[in-house]
Amino acid sequence: MSMTAAPAPPISAAGLAKSPPIDLPMRHFVSAAVAFWIFAAALAGGTGRFFGFDFQAKWVLGLVHIMTLGWITMTMFGAIIQLSAVLWETPVAWPGAVRGAWWAFTLGLIGFVAELWSGGSRYWIPAALLFGAVVVYLACFVRTMAAAPRLDWTARHLAVSVSCLAAVVTLGFLMAWDRDRGVLFRDTTGALIAHVHLALVGWVTLTVVGVSYRLVSMFALSHIESKTPGRLALALACAGLGGLALDGLFFGRRLMPLWAGLLAGAYLSYAWQMRAIFSARHRRIDPALAYTLLALVGGALWTVLGVLLACGMLPEESHVFAAYIYACLIGWATPFILGQIHKIVPFLVWLHIFGRRPWSAEKPPPKMTDLASERLAWAEFFAVAPAVLLGVAGFLAESRLVLEAGSLFLLAGATLYVSNTAFTLSFLVREGGWTGTSSRS
């Protein structure tokens, strides 16, 4: 099938969806990098606050939200905005609203964490800003998906993950309202388990999984022969997550081992699909692909901890929960995000600076790899990898020393990541900033 009907125009780029203005995804990636560094620095400086009598719930809650909202969700929003042209073959809807939502989200998060850390009681104000921002993001994503000519399997993952984000926000809102009333949720722990897993599995993991099929195979120059393991993974994940959420909310958490088993099966199927992608790759392992492999290890660790917790083989204690959450956020989501961002940010900068016509064979543009330091990226990888293992081990063993070592590795990794991102952005600054539309428009 040709994209053009005779007589063809001189250049038939019709159907190629436009990328958004560069500031739109980039503002998300930059603020996410800052949040990642703040998280790592705060963790390194406050490991003692996680243990025993020194446990400070509000401090931990603030830290968790810097990680989940400031780093992970902010990056995922930016990536979805940038990738909408790739994933949904249509530009992201209402870019002006997205820009406004970024402001509300950023200010809301800063206010929310500041209130928690300062012991204030008015965190409903920034929380309302966050809530409003997420609603705007969701509306933009749903509108974009509705305009898509087709939804491939990556887009189907995102459709489910965006639905889960809506459920997370709604449930969080209802839990906050019900906190002093006790009308809606008799089992508050069950509701919290549902809330956390809708976020970690439904929103974060399904986005990572769906995007990984498209981006990892693209960056590895791999070709997926069979999607059966991936389809099975999605079905098992939806069944396991749906069952877990309903059981936690309404049925007293009676079948948790079953839901954990389904989710573990989903992870195994996903890992099998990724094995096929890596087996068929045509490129060497670079930092981005190495990070994906590290994420697979972290995901396996998270899955094992989840099954052991659900089956009662690990005690339901705060340090075990912390190990479980850490394995997900730092072991699974963070390495995957770091790997993909190492490709996406240089790509955006390259496209903005060098994608402009006229192009000349005498003075060809640089490669995208020239816009970032691979050596720095490898150093960062070798700092983050031990941080994953030491962090989980430190929480499980309740060892402040091991956790401190892990958090220092993470801080080193985050610092290198911020440095490498700044190096890439310096090309943009030298070329006149990031305002304006995409290079060829």
Partner: protein
């Protein structure tokens, strides 16, 4: 291969995918080339629909062909049939990526 076609192919070999570092001919993105006294028609594909570099690569190919077209019209036709896969990499392209 006549000299004219060789010149056109050489021009297209200078169009390099900036992410992969390989030119579009060895990437297997060139599906067909038709040269007439009045027109150069190149049938190209992209590695995927909605390829973020699609517009840029097509623009580079257009510029490259205009550099050797003289008075002739340059026409690029974007084709998705068959969809690109890594099997379409040339032998030289595979060797390059193996060593990369």
């Amino acid at each position: 291969m006549d000299r004219d076609k060789l010149a056109v192919l050489t021009a297209l070999r200078a169009v390099v995918d900036p992410e992969v570092g390989l030119d579009i001919v060895n990437m297997g993105l060139l599906y067909g080339l038709e040269l007439t006294p009045a027109r150069i028609t190149a049938r190209l594909t992209l590695t995927s629909r909605g390829c973020p570099l699609g517009e840029t690569i097509l623009g580079m190919a257009q510029d490259a062909l205009e550099g050797v077209a003289g008075e002739r019209e340059v026409r690029l036709v974007l084709s998705w049939d068959p969809p690109w896969s890594p099997r379409m990499l040339s032998e030289a392209g595979r060797r390059y990526l193996d060593g990369y």
